[in-house]
Symmetry: C2
Subunit: 287 residues, 2 copies
């Protein structure tokens, strides 16, 4: 997906925040921003937002020698998500259409960030978000394809979210399907890498692989052959979050996008309101 | 004041908003942003934020031939402010230290924007904001200087705010002082020009002049000789809002800064919390 001009201020703000996570040195923060705005001014040279985000966030790593500025935040998010994991399981047990709600739990994980974790009544806050139904939900088509499917590839997004994804994966087990969970190749923003997938305990219920791509979205051009092989040959693909949507929305293969539309541009593209949840099939076959 | 790196994403976002006010043409909006990010990447060439903001906002005017994208917003803000003008006057009548509260009314005008005008109970919302006292208030020093002063120059900021400033000016009349109110030379963001000062009825109680500067802050380097003459020779100067503070905080002359610290960088520089009100004297004499 082409880079929306709305992404530019948003991304610059995020790099500024990342620079402050990585160092307290104001001079280095300025060096990072100086380089980041130069990259930003050439934004048209990048194919999609995750690519541009990677280039901009790399300035933080380069100037601070900190390969993972979000390390503490990711650990905190996973810890907080693990704490409500039993609640997520019992929430699901009380629902009739368990697949729908397992998908909804995984989508909700996309927004359970530090803000909500700071809330005293985390379970209550999460429940309120969980109960919101999908604005677009192609679950019937998904269920049909699931019947014949032997393998499903889930492309993960944020770190805390992996605990929510675990609930979905455990639910999918009933379909006797081979599940593979793909994560970022290297630390980028608060996204999950293999390290965070293990920290969340995903290794107990699924295979974990790297996309081979360092961007905060699976940009196929930069993914490994191993990942591409899985991406092309899995019977089903679930792509989680906005970053993967931006990288894969035009990819051509049949993909189910599972996310919350957190920005006005993505929500407009999806045809939903801002902050609505989506489980949307992109049926277009690769040309 | 040097440009804070925090200003960069904020300013880019504002130019994006301005581009959408000026045109519905997405191609033109992109052309504006393309040029604005190029300017942003050279931000170190600008002396202060208002200068950079001017250069970036000029791209909107250039690509749309719209010399005043905020025209409607300014009119709406002035109309809304005029509606609560009688309330502001009666609020002041009920206060003992009328000068303190007249200054506080003028400072509060700095934040009474469309958000609060959309509120049904505008008076109540405004009153809540008005009752917040100054975090820094150099009123004693101001009162002392006012006794001997013959002229006072007020450098205005936003358009809606001019109606609030009228209340301050009417209060200052009791000191038998010659009052001059300075506005931006040309439309920039939602700041007041001579047009908006007349629209607010400021011409009934004060002389109105242009700073000669087009930036959203009185950058002395670009001000007219007429303005500089007044700036240098007025007995008192009140500088309103963050833009003028950024342009004038290092100017050297004795100035009273009247504003709400709306951004973390400005509040840190002023030594107050975010969103606190300030009436702060900068005593440093020009070297």
């Amino acid at each position: 997906m082409k880079i929306f001009i709305d992404c530019l201020p948003c991304m610059l703000k995020q790099v500024l925040e990342a620079s402050r996570m990585a160092t307290d040195d104001i001079i280095i923060q300025e060096q990072i921003i100086n380089e980041a705005v130069k990259i930003l001014s050439d934004y048209k040279e990048y194919g999609c937002s995750p690519e541009l985000a990677l280039a901009m966030h790399n300035t933080v790593k380069k100037h601070t020698n900190n390969s993972d500025p979000y390390d503490l935040i990711k650990s905190r998010d996973i810890k907080a998500a693990k704490k409500i994991y039993p609640f997520l399981k019992s929430f699901l047990q009380n629902k009739n259409d368990s697949l729908y709600w397992a998908l909804k739990i995984a989508a909700t994980g996309n927004v359970i960030d530090s803000a909500i974790y700071n809330n005293i009544d985390v379970e209550k806050s999460t429940e309120l978000e969980l109960e919101k139904e999908f604005a677009i939900c192609d679950i019937e088509s998904f269920k049909q394809e699931l019947k014949q499917a032997e393998t499903i590839l889930i492309i993960g997004d944020n770190s805390g979210e992996t605990v929510f994804d675990k609930v979905l994966i455990e639910n999918l087990k009933q379909y006797n399907i081979n599940i593979i969970y793909a994560v970022r190749n290297n630390p980028i923003i608060n996204d999950a890498t293999v390290k965070e997938a293990y920290e969340s305990g995903l290794d107990c219920c699924t295979s974990i692989i790297s996309t081979g791509c360092d961007a905060p979205g699976a940009v196929l051009e930069y993914c490994s052959n191993d990942f591409l092989d899985l991406f092309n040959n899995s019977d089903l693909v679930i792509s989680k979050g906005q970053g993967n949507y931006e990288a894969l929305s035009d990819c051509g293969r049949n993909t189910f996008f599972l996310l919350k539309a957190k920005c006005p541009m993505v929500s407009r593209r999806l045809g939903v309101n801002l902050n609505e949840y989506v489980f949307k099939q992109n049926k277009q076959e690769r040309s």
